[in-house]
C-alpha cells in the first residue's frame, strides 16, 4: 500500500495559499521590467498548470522558474512556492507511473518539498503529510533500510496527525470531519506497521501506536483501530513480529494476494516470535488459513502447522481442535483414495490427544481398520466413536457414527448387536 496523496487538491489548500503569497510578494524590485515579466509569466503559468493538475507541465515550468531564480540568486517565499509546485508535481507524476523513479528522487522531489516547507508553512498538515509520503517513497524504493529516511517519513506523517488532531478536536467522532481525521490516523497506523516490519527501531512504533490508536476508537473504523492497538501486546510488545503477523492476516483476506505470500509473512513472524504461546497462535492461524484452501498440499500443511502449534501450546483447546481437524481431513482424503494404511495412521495420530471432535478421529480409525481387516480396532473404535458422538451429537450428525458401527459389526459377524444398534437408530436412517 503506497501512501498516495490524492491528486485533486481543492484550491482552498496549498494552491490558494500559494496564490495569495505570490500576489502579496511582487517581484521586480531588482529585475528589469522584461525579466520580471518573464518570471511572473513563468510563475503564473506554473500555478495555473498545477491548479489544473497538469503536473508534467507544472513541473517543467516550475523547474524553469527555479533555474532562473538560481541564476539570479533569488530566494524567498515565491521561490519556496515554486519549489512546492515542483516537488509535489513530480511526486504526483511518479505516483501515476507506478514504476521505480528514474532519477534522484531525494534531490528531485523530497528536497524541494522540504526546502519549501521551511519557508512556507501554510496548510502545514497537508504539506507535512505530503513530505512524509515523499520520504516514504524514497525509503521504500531505496530498499527499506535507510533509518534516517524512515525516521523522517514517520515524523512528518506524525506531525500532520498532531496538526489535524487539533483541527478535529471537539468534533463528534461520528461527524464527517472526525471521520476524515480518523482515516488519516488509520493511514498513519498502517504506515507504522509497514515500518515495523523492517525497522531496527520497531519498539518506538509500539508507543506511537498505543498513543495514537485511541484517536480512532468510537469511529466507524473502531474494530480496525482496536485490532492495531491490540497488536502492541503480541509477544510482549514485539512489534516486528506483530506487524508481520498482521501483514499475514491482511494478505490472507486479500483476494488478490497469493496464499504463499501470506504464509511467508506468517512464517517470518513465527521465526522472530519469542513466546511459545504466541508462536503457537501463529501456527494455529496458519493451519486455519490453509485449511480453507482446497488442495492436497494445503491439507498436509494444515496438519503440519497444527502439529507445530500443538507442540508449542498443547493446553489450548482451539489448537487441539485445529490439529485434530487437520488430521481428520488428511485421514478422510486418504480413505477416499483407497490409501487405508495412511488413513489409519493419520487417525491414530489424531486420537493421541483430547480434542473437540475427537469422535471423527475414532470414526476414521474404525473405518480404516475395517478395510485393513483389523477386527478389534475396527470394533473398539467404532463403538467408542458411536458412544462419544451420542453424547455430543444428535439427529443427522449422529447417523454416520451409528451406521459405521453397524457396518463394522456386520462385517465381523456380530449381526445380533448390529441389529440392536440399527433398531435403536432407525429413526436416523441407519439401515
Amino acid at each position: 500500500m503506497t501512501g498516495r496523496v490524492p491528486g485533486r487538491r481543492p484550491l482552498r489548500t496549498g494552491a490558494a495559499g500559494l496564490l495569495l503569497v505570490l500576489l502579496a510578494a511582487p517581484i521586480g524590485a531588482v529585475l528589469s521590467a522584461d525579466a520580471a515579466g518573464e518570471m511572473a509569466a513563468l510563475r503564473n503559468d506554473a500555478i495555473s498548470a498545477y491548479n489544473d493538475q497538469s503536473y508534467g507541465r507544472a513541473a517543467t515550468l516550475a523547474q524553469h522558474y527555479l533555474e532562473r531564480a538560481g541564476e539570479e540568486s533569488r530566494t524567498g517565499r515565491e521561490v519556496a512556492a515554486l519549489q512546492f509546485i515542483l516537488g509535489h508535481s513530480r511526486y504526483e507524476i511518479h505516483q501515476k507511473e507506478r514504476g521505480r523513479y528514474e532519477g534522484d528522487y531525494k534531490a528531485d522531489v523530497v528536497q524541494p518539498l522540504e526546502e519549501s516547507l521551511r519557508v512556507l508553512q501554510d496548510d502545514a498538515a497537508f504539506k507535512n503529510m505530503l513530505l512524509g509520503n515523499a520520504w516514504h517513497v524514497f525509503w521504500s524504493e531505496g530498499g527499506r533500510r535507510d533509518a534516517e529516511a524512515e525516521g523522517r517519513a514517520h515524523w512528518y506523517l506524525l506531525k500532520s496527525i498532531l496538526l489535524r488532531e487539533t483541527e478535529a478536536r471537539n468534533r463528534p467522532r461520528t461527524s464527517p470531519e472526525y471521520d476524515q481525521f480518523a482515516r488519516h490516523v488509520l493511514f498513519y497506523l498502517e504506515r507504522c506497521l509497514e515500518y515495523c516490519r523492517t525497522s531496527d527501531s520497531a519498539g518506538l512504533y509500539r508507543e506511537r501506536i498505543r498513543g495514537t490508536a485511541p484517536l480512532g476508537f468510537g469511529t466507524a473504523y473502531d474494530a480496525r483501530f482496536w485490532q492495531i492497538h491490540d497488536l502492541t501486546y503480541f509477544d510482549d510488545g514485539n512489534m516486528k513480529a506483530a506487524a508481520l503477523w498482521q501483514r499475514g492476516l491482511d494478505l490472507m483476506r486479500d483476494p488478490k494476494a497469493s496464499p504463499d505470500e501470506a504464509l511467508a509473512s506468517f512464517t517470518e513472524a513465527s521465526e522472530i516470535t519469542r513466546r511459545r504461546r504466541d508462536r503457537a497462535e501463529l501456527f494455529r492461524q496458519m493451519a486455519d488459513f490453509v485449511s480453507t484452501l482446497d488442495a492436497p498440499k494445503r491439507r498436509m500443511q494444515a496438519a503440519e502447522f497444527g502439529r507445530r502449534a500443538y507442540e508449542l501450546n498443547p493446553g489450548d483447546a482451539e489448537i487441539r481442535r485445529q490439529y485434530g481437524t487437520a488430521l481428520h481431513v488428511l485421514s478422510y482424503a486418504a480413505y477416499a483414495s483407497g490409501k487405508f494404511d495412511e488413513a489409519y495412521a493419520r487417525a491414530q495420530e489424531a486420537i493421541t490427544f483430547e480434542w473437540a471432535g475427537m469422535e471423527t478421529a475414532l470414526f476414521d480409525l474404525s473405518r480404516a481398520a475395517a478395510e485393513m481387516g483389523k477386527e478389534t480396532d475396527a470394533l473398539t473404535h467404532g463403538e467408542r466413536a458411536y458412544r462419544m458422538a451420542k453424547e455430543r451429537l444428535q439427529g443427522a450428525s449422529l447417523q454416520p457414527f451409528a451406521q459405521n458401527y453397524v457396518n463394522v459389526l456386520r462385517q465381523f459377524g456380530q449381526d445380533g448387536l448390529a441389529s440392536r444398534v440399527q433398531i435403536d437408530n432407525a429413526s436416523l436412517g441407519v439401515h
Partner: protein, 374 residues
C-alpha cells in the same frame, strides 16, 4: 504486565476486508472546511505545545523496556524534533500577541520538555547534551526549580488487548532528577589508552572484550557498544593515544592470534582509571629487598604483576607498608626511553631505556614501627 495473545483472531473464513485499503483510497481526498490552523491562535499554540509535550512523555515508556541502541537513537531523534517544535512555538508566541501569562505557560512547557529531552539524551549516551538541556530548562523557567515541580523519570505501562493503556510515571524533583541522571553519567568511565611500538596492521586487529557481558538492552551494554566502537575506530586510524568511555568492569585487549598483545585491565567504579599502556617492550625491575622485609606489590590496571623480570611498561599502583616504605609513592609510571625521573610524594615517573633494567629504591622508614594496641 502480561501481554498475552490478542483475542483470538477471526477465522480465515470470515471476510473482514482490508479496511485500510478502502480507507486510504478515500482518505484525505475530500476537503473539509478549513478550521483555523492550530498555530493561528494562542489557545491553539498552547494546545499544540501540550501535544508535543505529551508525545515526549508518551515516549518515556520506550526507555523502560531495555531498548536496543537503534530504538534509543530513533526515540532521541523524535524527542529532539518534538522539543524543537515546542521551542519554535514558544519563540513565535509574541507574533500572536500572547499575554504574558500565556507566554510563561509556553516557557514552562518548553522547560519541562527540555528536561524530558535530557532523559533521552542520557539514554542515548549524549551526556554533554543532557547537561545542556538541563541548563536550558533552568534558563527557560523558574518553575522547574520550584518545590512542587516534578519531571518524568520512568514510565510503567499496564495494558492488555481490548483495554486502554494505563501509564504511571515515576516523577522526580529537579535535584532528584539531576542526581539520578548523574548516576548514569558516572557509569561512563573515561579510559585512556596508549599503544606504543605496534604496527598499524597489528593495531587494526586489536579487540576488546568484557569479562562479563552486560544484560541485553542495559545501559552498560550500550556504553560498551559505544566504547568498543570508538576504540575500533581509533585503532583503525592507528591512533597511538586516545580515550574512550567504558562502564566499570574487567576487560581484555587482545591482538592477532599468537601475538604479543594481551592485556587485562580493570575499569573501577569510582577511583581514577589508569592509562592502559600497551607496549611490546618489557623491562626488568630490580628492587632493593634490604629496604624492608615485605617488598611492595605492583598492580598494573588492577592486576598484580609478580614477575618482575618481564614487566610491561605502564602505570603501576603500589601497595607497600607505610612503616617499611614511608616514602613510597602510590603510583609509578614506567616509561620506555631516557629522561629525568619526575617524583612527587605520591607519583613517580621513571624512564627505562630499552634493554636496561630499572632499579627502584625507597628510603627506609625512620619512624617508629606502629605498636599493636594493648
Amino acid at each position: 504486565m502480561d501481554g498475552g495473545v490478542p483475542a483470538r483472531r477471526s477465522s480465515a473464513r470470515r471476510g473482514a476486508m482490508l479496511l485500510a485499503a478502502v480507507v486510504v483510497a478515500a482518505a484525505l481526498a475530500a476537503g473539509v472546511p478549513r478550521a483555523a490552523t492550530p498555530e493561528e491562535t494562542v489557545a491553539g499554540v498552547l494546545e499544540l505545545a501540550g501535544r508535543w509535550g505529551g508525545l515526549l512523555r508518551g515516549s518515556v515508556a520506550v526507555l523502560d523496556r531495555r531498548p536496543d541502541p537503534a530504538t534509543i537513537k530513533a526515540a532521541l531523534t523524535d524527542a529532539r524534533r518534538a522539543v524543537a517544535e515546542i521551542d519554535r512555538l514558544s519563540a513565535n508566541a509574541a507574533i500572536f500577541q500572547a499575554a504574558p501569562q500565556d507566554r510563561q505557560k509556553l516557557q514552562d512547557v518548553a522547560a519541562a520538555a527540555h528536561l524530558n529531552l535530557a532523559l533521552f539524551e542520557t539514554h542515548g549516551l549524549e551526556f554533554d547534551q543532557a547537561r545542556q538541556e538541563i541548563a536550558r530548562a533552568k534558563s527557560l523557567s523558574d518553575l522547574v526549580q520550584s518545590d512542587g515541580f516534578h519531571t518524568e523519570w520512568a514510565a510503567i505501562t499496564a495494558g492488555e488487548p481490548g483495554k486502554a493503556l494505563q501509564t504511571r510515571y515515576n516523577l522526580l524533583t529537579l535535584p532528584e532528577f539531576e542526581a539520578a541522571l548523574g548516576s548514569i553519567w558516572s557509569r561512563a568511565r573515561p579510559v585512556p589508552f596508549e599503544f606504543r611500538g605496534i604496527t598499524a596492521e597489528d593495531l587494526a586487529q586489536v579487540r576488546l572484550s568484557p569479562a562479563t557481558t552486560p544484560p541485553p538492552g542495559s545501559l552498560d551494554e550500550r556504553l560498551l557498544l559505544q566504547g568498543t566502537s570508538e576504540l575500533r575506530a581509533a585503532l583503525q586510524k592507528a591512533r597511538p593515544a586516545f580515550t574512550v568511555s567504558l562502564p566499570p568492569g574487567v576487560y581484555r585487549l587482545q591482538g592477532r592470534p599468537a601475538g604479543e598483545i594481551d592485556r587485562t585491565f580493570v575499569v573501577p567504579e569510582a577511583t581514577e582509571v589508569d592509562t592502559v599502556l600497551v607496549d611490546r617492550a618489557r623491562f626488568t625491575l630490580r628492587f632493593d629487598t634490604k629496604t624492608g622485609p615485605r617488598p611492595p606489590r605492583f598492580f598494573l590496571n588492577g592486576f598484580e604483576v609478580t614477575d618482575l623480570t618481564k614487566m610491561p611498561y605502564g602505570v603501576y599502583r603500589l601497595k607497600a607498608d607505610p612503616d617499611d616504605y614511608p616514602t613510597a609513592p602510590q603510583i609509578v609510571r614506567f616509561v620506555l626511553g631516557e629522561g629525568i625521573p619526575d617524583k612527587t610524594r605520591t607519583s613517580w615517573t621513571i624512564y627505562v631505556p630499552a634493554g636496561t633494567p630499572a632499579t627502584l629504591a625507597f628510603d627506609r622508614g625512620t619512624a617508629p614501627r606502629r605498636r599493636l594496641p594493648g
